[in-house]
């Protein structure tokens, strides 16, 4: 099989060389922002299968999500779109569809019954006007809590199950000379921690309702006040060097045992694996403390430019098909650190953290959206990040003021 795919890849390579410029029916340019080692390795799994099945892959990596999204849109407007491009699913993608710039992959989706196989929330986000305008390739979880087992043992604390327990444990860790929370002080990381607190204190129903309706009463509620109070109570447990720190530096603090906990998405597993540790062994993973089980999902997806007409070209359809093939889903997601977008893929070859996630997602009630890239309009998402970060870093803002500011920022943005 691998030999065959190598031959196919070689053939594909040769044909690019020979027929440079000639429009091949199965050629697809793929624009994406996956430039780091693990990301590239993951995408190579998709490429391998796509090329083995006769497609020709033209790779256009652009570093940085914002840059890549801007480039995809600019090229579309300039009349030279990339056939397949990575994009976040949600409001922005629908805006592109609204302008008639996207092709749909309905044929593949209905043949393969995506409606049944993907989580309903993701189905909703990937559709515009009933048509599939994107192929979701994976699910990342954002409410993970990674911890250093040796550090916890040294301070004599267990993995906390509630935020009250967490604060007690954090104090013990601090007394033992360990930084309780390794936090990268950038707005999106602070928001990930805030959303974990929100979910943990207010529960999954409140979380889902809050971010789907952005309702004034919920934003003003006492529950929300409690969330801000709990969040504020975590401030003393972060070290001085936190502001501006990158997430992977915070992860390596946990790996080394300088810090005990990190609240981060499951892409942190990539760092842990790179350090030669199997996730779930000396560095453990658990959901952040919460009153009920839930999984805050963020999704990587690829969309398809309208090349001729509304329907996807054969190459685009093939890409959509390949991306959601069970084998590709497994190979891709093991390298990426995420879990398959399809919930019917066997879980047993994944690490223990991913297995927990896949098992959790079998229950639809646990499905929640991240506010990062796909849950809410990007203007609201940005306003949330800003106001959370402002509250977290302020030395004199009370929880009530933080809550009022949060409410105000969301009202202005929606």
């Amino acid at each position: 099989m691998t030999k065959l795919s190598k031959v196919a890849a070689l053939a594909a390579f040769l044909s690019t060389g020979v027929s440079a410029g000639a429009l091949h029916a199965q050629t697809a340019e793929v624009l994406h922002w996956w430039t780091s080692g693990s990301e590239q390795a993951a995408l190579a799994e998709v490429r391998k299968v796509f090329e083995a099945s006769g497609g020709e892959w033209v790779d256009t990596p652009i570093a940085g999500g914002g840059n890549a999204r801007a480039a995809a849109v600019n090229r579309m407007l300039g009349g030279d779109p990339a056939a397949v491009f990575q994009f976040s699913i949600g409001q922005q993608l629908r805006e592109l569809a609204d302008q008639g710039l996207l092709a749909n992959v309905d044929k593949v989706a209905s043949e393969e019954n995506w409606d049944q196989k993907l989580p309903p929330l993701i189905v909703k986000a990937a559709k515009y006007d009933g048509d599939y305008i994107a192929a979701p390739i994976n699910i990342h979880g954002e409410n993970w809590m990674f911890y250093n087992k040796a550090a916890l043992e040294k301070a004599g604390v267990d993995v906390p199950k509630s935020w009250n327990e967490f604060v007690v444990a954090a104090q013990k860790l601090k007394d033992a000379g360990i930084i309780p929370i390794g936090l990268g002080g950038q707005p999106w990381q602070e928001r990930i921690m805030f959303n974990s607190v929100l979910l943990g204190v207010a529960g999954r129903e409140f979380y889902a309702k809050l971010y789907s309706t952005l309702d004034d009463d919920l934003l003003d509620s006492d529950t929300m006040r409690k969330v801000f109070e709990t969040f504020a109570a975590l401030k003393p447990f972060v070290d001085e060097g936190s502001p501006g720190r990158n997430w992977n530096e915070a992860t390596s603090m946990v790996i080394k045992g300088d810090a005990a906990f990190q609240f981060m998405g499951d892409w942190a597993k990539g760092e842990i694996i790179a350090a030669g540790i199997e996730p779930g062994t000396t560095v453990g993973c658990a959901f952040a403390p919460a009153i009920d089980t839930a999984y805050i999902m963020t999704v990587d997806a690829f969309a398809f430019s309208a090349m001729d007409g509304e329907e996807a070209t054969p190459a685009q359809a093939k890409m959509a098909h390949v991306m959601l093939e069970p084998d590709v889903q497994i190979a891709f997601n093991k390298k990426k650190g995420s879990i398959p977008a399809r919930l019917d893929v066997p879980a047993d070859s994944f690490d223990s953290c991913a297995q927990t996630a896949i098992k959790t997602l079998q229950d639809e009630k646990t499905h929640l959206v991240s506010t990062g890239l796909f849950g809410v309009p990007s203007a609201v998402s940005g306003a949330i990040d800003d106001s959370i970060s402002n509250f977290w870093n302020s030395t004199d803002m009370s929880p009530a003021e933080g809550q009022a500011q949060f409410h105000q920022a969301i009202s202005n943005a929606k």
């Binding site: 914002g66 922005q92 950038q186 001085e240 501006g244 800003d386 030395t395 202005n412």
Partner: protein, 316 residues
Amino acid sequence: MPDPAQDVLHYSATPQDAHQKGRRRWRPQWTARMALIPAMAITIFCFYGFIIWTFVISLTRSRLLPVYKFTGFDQYGRLFANERWWTAMQNLAIHGFLFIGGCIVFGYLLAILIDRGVKAEGLFRTVFMLPLSMSFIVTGVIWQWVMNPGLGLQEAVRALGWAGFEFNWIVRPDRSIYTLAIAGIWQQVGLCMALFLAGLRNIDPNIWKAARVDGIPVWRVYLHIITPMMRTVFFTVFILMSAIVMKAFDLVVALTGGGPGFSSDLPARFVVDHILNRQELGLGAAGAFVLLCTVIAVIAPYIYFELQKERSGRGH
């Protein structure tokens, strides 16, 4: 050194002649005009055209893509209700004042010290000019390390035994904006020094001789005689540094990322962030336009004042 009084005499002696000469200078040959057309077209289209386009977009509800559904001044309303915008504008004022002021004061002092005939002048000039060869991104990264409380200056001094030493401005929301000025001055002070030095070298040595004969102390010569003569150099430095402040983007991105929170954000970063990352084209355009108006409001009177003074100094 031409005597300024003579200068005035020369020009005002024949105003008619000067006037006509001026007119003739502004009537170029048609070939020259033709040659200028492309440059003018590019300037008009790319510069003024896009200013107008930005303004038009700021009146629409464009998010990801430009759409021409006009909503009046809604985007400006949203902009002015945005706390982060006001923080950014306030930071621009603080940073602009400290950065321009710092560059002028330190640049001038360094130039004077070198001008006093310091040994190894070439070495000092090179040392002070060297930071200029680095981009703002590199400058930002260097200073981020220096000012990082866990691994930079604070840690180094503490390791020497002064345990209570504190220099953690970069992680303090109320101080982070000052770190921008520190890094910015460090980078640009060399350029200012070179400009001031060139100015000082143009001063007629006879002035120094005259001052020595009159027994005026050196500091008074600098303060009351040399500095007023350097007016045009100050003007040049001010304009150059203002341009750097207004478009300051890379330094803040590399040094603080606008943080902690958005405490060290600047308007240019706000605009880029909203247009590229948040798909808020309309709001970003409104920010850009307000920034432009602010720049014009602050800089234009000064330029007008200086040019007016120059013209009246020559012409009447």
